[in-house]
């Protein structure tokens, strides 16, 4: 009768396992890490940093299944290049080369494919990282949703970078590079056919120039980096607090967000802190460097709205708390695994 612990445990993969939140963490912990564990993988960083001969090499892979394939501000091709290069940048690595795996559905219009490939070309050439190897597969109608893309990138860490949750100290500041939740809400609004007075655009962008510039300038003053994609800012800060065994206090008023995004989030009943970004980073920066770091961000178009949004404290380990506009307090948690359409 009714629910026992066993019947609440999922016997099959559910969409929530792909949400980037608590359920994704369980998918990894229950089904992947027990069999595949090794020191590089166990870090669960955005990218792995490996020793290859005398070199340190960063490597990252990501698959893209977004619907719709084209959306305001970008398309699946731009996303596939920027997403993987951003993952490399989050471990302080500058991209060297990309692979491209395309899974195409029978019936996909070739002019759509051409537009996506043109977007891949534009994004990768602007970043100076070529696609050097690839693969194509075609599956029958109904077996994939138009087009799925996988990209893998390798990169070289900039020598000044000293990143990791273990380097984070109480008193360090939390910086967000710009207005949050724009990618996720753009995709959801497109899917729902919602229109707003000022249209929403995905923030998808290659962050490497901004991020690597910061690392070169501030070196160990930048302690930790993450791009808040699936699961949003909430997910990545809870992961930070958990892995650093520290607490984070956020100031709601300081979190950059456009009025349109806020309005859209309210309409859809979503907490913007849990919504995906594709052109933002969250950084922990030493307190004495933070003003200069935010000013440096501000001189780059992608960092125009960068702001200090919180402080790392020695409070309850793993706890992220938000001080609301009125001075109330609430805790911030990883989202469960959102009931949302595919966003990346």
């Amino acid at each position: 009768m009714a629910m026992t612990a066993d019947s609440t445990k999922s016997q099959q993969i559910m969409l929530a396992h792909g949400g980037g939140g608590e359920m994704t963490a369980r998918l990894l912990a229950d089904h992947l890490l027990p069999q595949l564990a090794n020191p590089a993988l166990d870090e669960l960083g955005d990218a792995a940093v490996l020793k290859a001969g005398r070199c340190r090499v960063a490597m990252s892979t990501d698959s893209y299944v977004v619907q719709p394939l084209e959306f305001p501000g970008g398309d699946i091709g731009k996303l596939a290049v920027a997403g993987t290069l951003n993952d490399l940048a989050m471990v302080g690595a500058s991209g060297v080369a990309l692979s491209l795996g395309l899974i195409l559905e029978e019936g996909l219009p070739t002019d759509l494919l051409d537009r996506v490939v043109a977007s891949i070309r534009l994004t990768s050439s602007a970043a100076g990282v070529p696609v050097v190897t690839g693969d194509t597969k075609v599956v029958g109608r109904g077996q994939c949703d138009g087009m799925f893309i996988n990209t893998t990138g390798i990169g070289l860490p900039v020598p000044q970078a000293r990143l990791g949750a273990a380097r984070v100290r109480p008193g360090d500041k939390v910086v967000i590079s710009g207005r949050i939740a724009e990618h996720g809400l753009t995709i959801i609004s497109q899917r729902r056919g919602l229109r707003f007075d000022s249209p929403l655009h995905s923030d998808v962008a290659v962050l490497a120039p901004l991020v690597l510039g910061l690392l070169r300038q501030f070196g160990p003053g930048v302690r930790w980096l993450r791009d808040p994609t699936r699961g949003g800012v909430a997910n990545c800060l809870v992961e930070l607090a958990e892995s650093a065994h520290l607490a984070v206090e956020l100031n709601e008023e300081a979190i950059p967000i456009s009025p349109t995004t806020l309005h859209a989030a309210e309409m859809l009943g979503l907490d913007p802190l849990t919504v995906a970004n594709e052109g933002k980073f969250v950084a922990v920066v030493a307190a004495d460097k933070v003003d200069a770091a935010v000013a440096a961000c501000g001189s780059h178009p992608l960092g125009r709205h960068a702001a200090v949004v919180g402080t790392v404290t020695d409070g309850e380990p793993g706890l992220v708390e938000l001080v609301t506009r009125l001075g109330g307090r609430r805790i911030v948690q990883k989202p469960y695994g959102e009931e949302l359409p595919r966003i990346c």
């Binding site: 969409l15 369980r26 729902r192 609301t324």
Partner: protein, 371 residues
């Protein structure tokens, strides 16, 4: 903190000091509950002022028997379940709609009843069953969908009716006597439809002040101040601070839609039990749109999952940390009761936004540090 907030907190503080007793104010709207938690408002109130959450979350008051019936229907060939997202994870006797979907059932989250109609048009070979839950806020849209399906001859669309009227539940709570409520923070969205005058009997006959407020944190604090000040003055009136959208008489068009399609019927509320005239049944001329009748399925009896105190939570009798399952076997990832699943559920709000470790340990209120 800006001066407005300081001023309103001063008013609350003064009134609470004058009353010098525990005051229990009930919000009966899940969106208020969420806003109160998201904004950390409980921590801004004096110790003696308690905000308790009433039966304002439509998913939470839906009977377990109904949820089981929906999940059973999801497993049938040729059926598409169209539902508001909140229902997808509510566990029933055998799994949830989410698990049914993973096992192959066709379950589609929709934002409105009209999306469900579109699904029916796009899938002529399937029967689309719309999970029609919610109060007077969502019922007019369901009524409009039923009328549209009739007009368009969409015979593969039906609803699984579980809409409820709010007022009978408020009266039942007061008649119950178990629940001590000093005043009501009246729902925002429901009041748009019903109008603020609908609370007059609560204020007059039951002597409970009522304030209709929106969801902005300042409005909620203002409502709390007004409720306390009425209590200080021994008054009991209906005050509307959500005048930008709530009128005295409500939305006559929406009320007509409800009346045209639905007729009051007895309904089972989780926690409150059966309440006469609190449910919305389809009128006889729309019975062919009743999905249960069409599929020959009957809503089963209500029950609580073992150990689950959702029933007492929706009455405001206990706070979630007083439930033995809360944050133990019942979490956001493994919910046992609907109050943990719905985005408007009281348990979900406590779990998501409350400092549950402190609260579980018996320190009911979050610590307040305002500087």
């Amino acid at each position: 903190m800006d001066s407005q907030v300081v001023e309103i907190r001063d008013r609350i503080e003064r009134a609470a000091n004058t009353l010098a007793r525990e005051v229990r104010l009930m919000e009966i709207c899940g969106t208020h509950t969420m806003s109160i938690f998201r904004q950390g408002l409980r921590g801004l109130l004096p110790q003696a002022v308690r905000l308790i959450s009433g039966p304002g979350c439509p998913v939470c008051v839906t009977s377990q028997g109904y949820i089981d019936a929906v999940i059973e229907l999801a497993g049938r060939d040729g059926v598409i379940i169209a539902t508001y997202g909140d229902m997808i994870r509510v566990p029933g006797h055998s799994g949830s709609l989410e698990q049914a979907r993973a096992a192959g059932a066709r379950v589609q989250a929709v934002l409105s009843s009209m999306d469900a109609l579109t699904l029916a048009r796009e899938n002529p070979d399937a029967t689309v069953l719309f999970v029609a839950v919610g109060f007077e806020t969502t019922a007019p849209a369901t009524a409009a969908a039923v009328l549209a399906a009739g007009a368009q001859g969409l015979d593969n669309f039906a609803v699984l009716p579980a809409h409820k009227f709010v007022m009978p539940a408020m009266r039942a709570l007061l008649a119950d006597g178990q629940v001590r409520v000093d005043g009501f923070l009246c729902p925002g969205h429901v009041s748009v439809i019903l109008g603020s005058r609908v609370y007059d009997p609560i204020a007059r006959e039951h002597q409970r002040p009522c304030v209709v407020a929106g969801f902005e944190p300042m409005q909620i604090l203002q409502a709390v101040a007004l409720l306390l000040e009425q209590l200080v003055a021994h008054q009991s009136q209906v005050t509307n601070v959500y005048r930008s959208v709530v009128t005295a008489h409500g939305n006559p068009h929406a009320l007509r839609l409800i009346d045209e399609v639905f007729t009051p019927a007895d309904a089972w509320w989780r926690g409150l039990g059966p309440i006469p005239g609190s449910g919305m049944a389809l009128r006889p001329q729309f019975e062919r749109f009743d999905g249960f009748a069409r599929m020959c399925v009957r809503e089963g009896a209500d029950y609580d999952p073992p150990g689950c105190r959702c029933g007492q939570v929706v009455k405001g009798l206990v706070d979630p940390p007083e439930c033995p399952l809360f944050a133990q076997s019942c979490t956001a990832t493994t919910p046992v009761g609907p109050c943990m699943v719905s985005s408007e559920g009281t348990c979900a709000a406590w779990f998501k936004y409350g400092r549950r470790r402190l609260e579980v340990a018996g320190t009911r209120r979050p610590q307040v540090r305002t500087k």
